[in-house]
Amino acid sequence: MQLLPYTENHHRFRARLRKFLAEEVVPHVDDWETDHIVPRDVWKKMGREGFICPALSKEYGGAGGDFLHSTIVIEEISRTNHSGLATPLHSDIVVPYIESYASEIQKRHYLPLCASGDVITAVAMTEPNAGSDLVSMQTTAEADGDDIVLNGSKTFITNGINCDLVIVAARNPLAGNPHKAISLYLVEDGTPGFEKGRRLEKMGFHSQDTAELFFNDCRIPRTNRLGEDGDGFYMLMEKLQQERLVCAVMGVAAAEQIFEWSMRYCRETAGPKGPMSRSQAVAFALVEMSTDIKLGRTFLDKLIAEHMAGEQIVIETSMAKYWTTDLAKRIADRALDLFGQGGTLETTPPVRAFRDVRVMSIFAGTNEIMKGIVAKFMGM
């Protein structure tokens, strides 16, 4: 039984996307992993086909779909075994801030470009000394006449090199209450004082241009602030439910893909006594992996349905973010065991996945932070 209300339209969308990725992405993934960046033209191609911002309303140039279309994009990109083409971060995490909080003029200006793939976005919250502890961020936003002047540095920023537009979280040094000090600002690439730093070398996510960003007396118009002064935290809280759900979709999708490779390998590879999957230990391992993944999938699908129905599910999405990203890590670890020494070679697909999924339990709030949030919301 299908828990989620997928329609014919969704199925066609998935089939069209899968074909697109097979033709335009999969053949280039190894090169992108070596280049440590994805070329901009693939964003534009994806945009032309309506695969970027699939849930954005047509009024602003989006495809006018729903969160199931977003889910499909995340799942299908997971199947391509690379992390560089971070359109889900753009479509389902960054762009919604603009859609919800930017002025009508800004929305008319930016959103169609975001949907067409001409403008790539990033969100800059994490700082060298403020990761889990966002409240302690040091980047400042000081009013100067009709301008805001930004100073500070951000790190681990996804799409950091490719981005044309960044949502920057910064504190007003004059604000008393630290929770009312943060605001979000739109900063365009090329603004004087905004510099992109080095591309960071990582364990995985090699095709992803994760980078540092620097703001030195970066002057932007006051109108580039999203919402009211000091509402940054409120906006973050508002949008984190979907962000965590997106992470959970990534976790489950990665686990499903890794399992599919493992299952196929064990059925097709000869062991000492018939196919490997005949070994009782291998068969049990695969059964346990599959059971774990199905538990995760069931929980996830329920949360997707509730999220689409507009329910407040902060507790459950935080649980799902931590559990499903741990799941992906656990499944990748177990999969390599099944591949034996083949699990040490980069040509074996789960090896890249093993390196890539390791960051999932860290990004978008570490899993320890997730547990802390759940504990707080459960009244502990």
Binding site: T126, M203, P272, A285, G340, T344, E346, R358, I362
Partner: protein, 382 residues
């Protein structure tokens, strides 16, 4: 058993000083990227007697035991998992020659290993499982005064860079544990050896690992290593020995990841407190410390049994399985404690994690070790 001797403590100290003086994480990362063996550092390790420390003095070795070799491997890996592993694997396979070779063979090759003239390699397997003797198609056939070797060996460490390879071959009509297989030493310069590099790896890219092909490769009769017919039995004994060394590398990797995480949580502040002040962090550190100690104990125990003439194949397999698993878990947790920084190359722990996983996958996975342990613990059923 629970106290190292003075000489062993001195070896540890010497290895620490060597590692502190010679290892540099930026050099390591460069060697990893360019797939280059740390030749210079290896030559220096040779001078200090770290390579072949467990081989007899008459072959230029240190005349010491596996426990001493473990202490060196652990200490070096703790300072740098990649360099430690690369050095520890410099003489991989030579253990077999030292143990089973005749005087002439040992005399002609082991000094070249302990003097740092050559790296060594051994080709045992033909599938992707690191302890699978069920497929053995490589043959060595007598032709006059020579053996003619034909076949292919997979995942040969130092494949393409070693001075000689020990090759497990079929030499009889039927083959099983005690009949029909033999080890042949093949010098790298012989005609007919092909090398297929395996490309980028999850970890340890500075050490060459390749598939080797043998096409009508001729070597003298005297290159037979050990007893004719006993190839698999010798290979098993060799594995029982080197699994202890792999366990020691895993202990070093776990300890190195732990050291780095511990230093970080004592210094990093979030929410106006040191990370080391959060109970969850404290308990993670406690778990990690416990795992490192457990892995170290079983590894030293296996090594000590080996050195005192009571080698225990089950204990070797247990040590390798437990230490590798604990190293994966400890280095994984180290990454988590570092947060985003843990995922960055600069902080090293991600490399430790990849290397820990590699140890778990080589010389037989957990499942393979369990097969071996169960064989011994359960024994023959009536």
């Amino acid at each position: 058993m629970f106290e190292l001797t003075r000489s062993q403590k001195e070896i540890q100290k010497a290895a620490q000083e060597f590692a502190r003086g010679e290892f540099d994480k930026e050099v390591t990362v460069d060697l990893e990227k360019s797939h280059t063996y740390p030749t210079e550092i290896w030559k220096k390790a040779v001078e200090l007697g770290f390579i072949g420390i467990q081989f007899a003095e008459k072959y230029g070795g240190g005349g010491l035991g596996i426990l001493d070799a473990c202490l060196v491997a652990e200490t070096l890996c703790r300072k740098d998992s990649t360099m430690g592993s690369a050095l520890s694997l410099a003489s991989f396979g030579a253990e077999c020659l030292h143990r089973f070779g005749d005087e002439k063979l040992r005399g002609s090759f082991l000094p070249r290993v302990t003097e740092g003239e050559i790296l060594t390699g051994i080709g045992l397997f033909e599938t992707e499982r690191g302890d699978d003797f069920s497929v053995l198609d490589t043959t060595a056939v007598r032709s006059g005064e020579e053996w003619v070797v034909n076949g292919k060996k997979r995942y040969v460490i130092n494949g393409g860079t070693a001075g000689f390879y020990i090759v497990l071959c079929r030499t009889g009509e039927t083959c099983d544990e005690n009949n029909g297989t033999s080890m042949i030493l093949v010098e790298a310069g012989r005609t007919g050896i092909g090398c297929i590099p395996l490309g980028d790896k999850l970890a340890l890219n500075s050490v060459a690992i390749a598939d080797l092909t043998f096409d009508q490769v001729r070597v003298p009769m005297s290159n037979l290593l050990g007893k004719e017919g006993k190839g698999i039995a010798q290979a098993r004994a060799f594995l029982d020995e080197v699994k202890i060394l792999a366990a020691a590398r895993a202990v070093g990797i776990a300890a190195g990841a732990f050291d780095r995480a511990l230093a970080y949580v004592k210094q990093r502040e979030q929410f106006d407190r040191k990370l080391a002040q959060f109970q969850i962090t404290r308990h993670k550190i406690a778990d990690m410390a416990t795992k490192v100690e457990l892995a170290r104990l079983i590894t030293y125990r296996a090594a000590s049994d080996f050195d005192t003439g009571k080698p225990d194949p089950a204990m070797s397999a247990m040590a390798k399985m437990a230490a590798a698993r604990m190293a994966v878990e400890v280095s994984d947790e180290a990454i988590q404690l570092f947060g985003g920084y843990g995922y960055m190359t600069e902080q090293e722990v991600e490399r430790y994690y990849r290397e820990a996983k590699t140890i778990e996958l080589c010389l037989g996975t957990r499942e393979s070790q369990k097969d071996r342990i169960a064989d011994i613990v359960i024994g023959k059923l009536k």
